[in-house]
């Protein structure tokens, strides 16, 4: 489906025509994905979209029904997990409860019968990087959530693998720890430069960590791009709605021509589409959905020029740094993000302008970007 495999570097993980079904339920179907060497790829989607299934297939914990998986140009489709050169970090940490942190870290190495000195060296290195040396003699039950997850990352680290797999590693942590560890994982990636594949349903994690994001829905990758492109140029309406908080405003209407220029018309009100970067000619009469993010609607003093409309304040949601205004205009309610210091009374009249260079137009039927 996506073939923007550029000439960047050689691919580290390559998934070709992968299918997996449980009985009659098809979880993945003909999925193709190339992950570059050293890339941080995030698989993003709501629960049940197949992202964890895909990760388990890469790890070798689930057998695909069809297709191939390559890691470092080696066909590993039938290989055991341990022979794939991967390390994995789980949501529930999955630390062996009866072993100390040190034994947890070294378990895989001891199973592989690696010499004692080498094991000690690798454990020392991993615990140094993750700053868990003081915890080495403790049992997992004596650790906090954040420390446990650090040990879990260390367990992948000692194995000296090419590819790290993360299965929602931060979902069990509270908000503060989550943002701390997020930064640490990013730092770790910058230091190690390993390929990392990271599964999450949290768009903030995806946007902050990823080199590229693959947004999945019902086992199909909807869009595979860098975070900026995903955010600003969503390929279809699903991606547009999934990414962004507060969510993008959607206005249903149709395309029309006024004075030789394309406009978007909804409930008798026309919006000029000047500045919109369309990928195909905009024919009048086509049913479309206009998507505008709350920060791309300008209000009163922020308006730099262009077409100006008038709207009424419906409700106000102050959020500290930002203030979210819900405005009524042209039969729609739309959210607008303004600075936290600017306050409006309910029912007040405001002027607004759409930044069409940052807007998205989707076909009403196919929901694809125009």
């Amino acid at each position: 489906m996506l073939n923007n495999v550029s000439t960047r570097t050689q691919s580290s993980v390559s998934i070709r025509d992968l299918s997996l079904s449980f009985g009659s339920v098809k979880v993945l179907e003909n999925l193709n994905l190339d992950i570059y060497d050293g890339e941080f790829l995030v698989l993003l989607g709501s629960s049940g979209c197949g992202k964890s299934t895909l990760l388990n297939c890469i790890a070798g914990l689930l057998e695909p029904t069809d297709g191939q998986i390559f890691i470092k140009d080696k066909n590993v489709t039938w290989e055991e997990p341990k022979d794939r050169g991967i390390g994995m970090v789980f949501q529930s940490y999955a630390l062996y409860p009866q072993m100390t942190v040190e034994k947890n870290l070294s378990f895989g190495l001891r199973v592989a019968k690696i010499p004692k000195a080498e094991i000690d060296r690798r454990v020392a290195r991993a615990s140094g990087i993750l700053q868990i040396e003081p915890l080495l003699k403790r049992k997992p039950s004596e650790l906090s959530g954040g420390q446990r997850q650090r040990v879990a990352i260390g367990r992948a680290l000692v194995r000296d693998v090419d590819v790290f797999l993360f299965d929602e590693p931060l979902s069990n942590l509270d908000a503060k720890l989550r943002s701390e560890l997020r930064v640490e994982i990013k730092r770790l990636h910058q230091a190690l430069k390993n390929t990392m594949i990271y599964v999450t349903h949290d768009q903030i994690e995806a946007l902050t960590l990823a080199d590229r994001i693959a947004i999945m829905k019902s086992g199909v990758i909807q869009q595979l791009d860098d975070p900026v492109t995903i955010y600003n140029k969503p390929r279809n309406r699903f991606v547009a709605a999934f990414i962004g908080s507060p969510a993008m405003n959607f206005l249903t209407g149709e395309l029309a021509e006024e004075g030789g220029r394309a406009v978007f018309r909804t409930n008798g009100v026309s919006f000029s589409l000047d500045g919109y970067d369309a990928s195909e000619p905009m024919k009048g009469g086509r049913k479309v959905t206009l998507g505008v993010r709350p920060e791309h609607i300008k209000v009163d003093g922020d308006i730099a020029g262009g077409e100006v409309h008038e709207a009424v304040v419906d409700i106000e949601e102050p959020m500290g740094a930002d203030n979210l205004l819900w405005l009524k205009h042209a039969g729609h309610t739309m959210s607008v993000r303004i600075g936290g210091a600017r306050r409006y009374a309910v029912g007040a009249k405001v002027r607004l302008a759409f930044d069409m260079t940052m807007a998205s137009l989707f076909d009403a039927e196919t929901e694809e970007r125009i």
């Binding site: 388990n56 790890a59 070798g60 914990l61 055991e80 997990p81 341990k82 991967i86 390390g87 994995m88 789980f90 949501q91 529930s92 940490y93 999955a94 630390l95 062996y96 409860p97 009866q98 378990f107 895989g108 199973v111 592989a112 997992p140 039950s141 367990r155 194995r159 069990n172 306050r343 409006y344 009374a345």
Partner: protein
């Protein structure tokens, strides 16, 4: 717009009032009546149930410590006037079954020789079965499991005759090995179910993590699963030990008089009629036979609780 910022938040005034003094009336913990109707019902029912079980036990213990002349007086509830351990010694070493006169001791050692290997073999196999069924799903594993469960519901009596023939053909009929085999097999369905359900309840990600670490079937079993499974092993051991020790049917069918387990020996002592019925010896013999499961419960019951507490690892 500024109005919204000065909402009534007169904080200091409120806290000053609350901290100073308490009003008369209900305060602190709510008092509860000792003799409420609820308490009377609960403790009454518990007391009655305890009496119901303890009175027969009391009669047995008291009777076993009396001499025969005292028993003939008929006061079964009265404590012994003269405590004697004679009946206990006799029950253990001298009581007659009609075939021999060496008491329960023979049966005790037979029972030990039957129970210990049966418990070890059945738990060892059932735990591996349960582990495989929980973690290493294979094609048809669910069907296999269902068949095993159905096995738990088939009445034993139906299978006695076929098993007698099978054991005879194997040359094991009448030996302790034959009975050990039968006990091990019959314990399998319920034990496997027990272990499978326990292993299924362990986090699946642990198993996945161990596989990524390169551990195989037996390494995961011995190094990851076993150390986490003390509680279920204790439960399983309690069930098997008491079940096999208390078994009478298989013991009487599959062994010969010189290999009879303790329960069969007890029956033969109590039911053999040779002149006077020695109630005190019978009571002592019964208490001796019941002592083993009782001790198992007392000792491992504690271990069980500790096992659960130690095994509890929150995710």
């Amino acid at each position: 717009m500024d109005k919204s910022l000065t909402m009534p938040v007169s904080g200091p005034a409120i806290s000053a009032q609350a901290g100073s003094r308490l009003e008369a009336g209900p305060q602190g913990k709510r008092p509860r009546k000792r003799l409420s109707s609820r308490n009377i019902i609960v403790y009454g029912a518990l007391g009655f149930a305890a009496l119901y079980y303890l009175v027969p036990l009391y009669v047995m213990v008291v009777t076993s410590l009396k001499g025969m002349p005292e028993i003939r007086l008929g006061n079964i509830f009265s404590p012994p006037m003269e405590i004697t351990f004679e009946p206990w010694v006799k029950a253990w070493a001298e009581a007659c079954t009609g075939l021999n006169c060496d008491g329960l001791s023979r049966g005790f050692w037979n029972s030990v020789r039957i129970t210990v290997p049966s418990v070890i073999v059945s738990i060892a196999i059932a735990s591996v079965n349960g582990y495989a069924l929980a973690n290493w799903r294979f094609k048809g594993s669910e069907i296999f499991f269902t068949i095993l469960i159905v096995g738990a519901f088939i009445p034993y009596q139906v299978m006695i005759y076929p098993i007698v023939i099978v054991l005879r053909e194997m040359g094991l009929y009448g030996t302790l090995y034959g009975l050990i085999l039968v006990h091990s097999i019959f314990g399998m369905p319920i034990q496997t179910l027990l272990f499978r359900n326990y292993f299924v309840s362990l986090p699946e990600e642990l198993f996945k993590a161990a596989r990524i670490d390169g551990a195989g079937f037996w390494q995961i079993y011995f190094r990851i699963m076993l150390p986490m499974s003390l509680p279920i092993f204790v439960v399983s051991m309690i069930l098997q030990t008491t079940g096999i020790w208390n078994d009478f049917l298989f013991g009487v069918v599959f062994t010969r008089p010189d290999t009879y387990p303790m329960t069969v020996q007890l029956n033969n002592i109590v039911n053999s009629v040779q002149g006077v019925k020695e109630y005190n010896v019978n009571m002592a013999a019964t208490l001796l036979t019941g002592a083993v499961p009782l001790i198992v419960y007392f000792v491992s019951g504690r271990l069980f609780v500790r096992g659960i507490a130690a095994g509890a690892v929150k995710g």
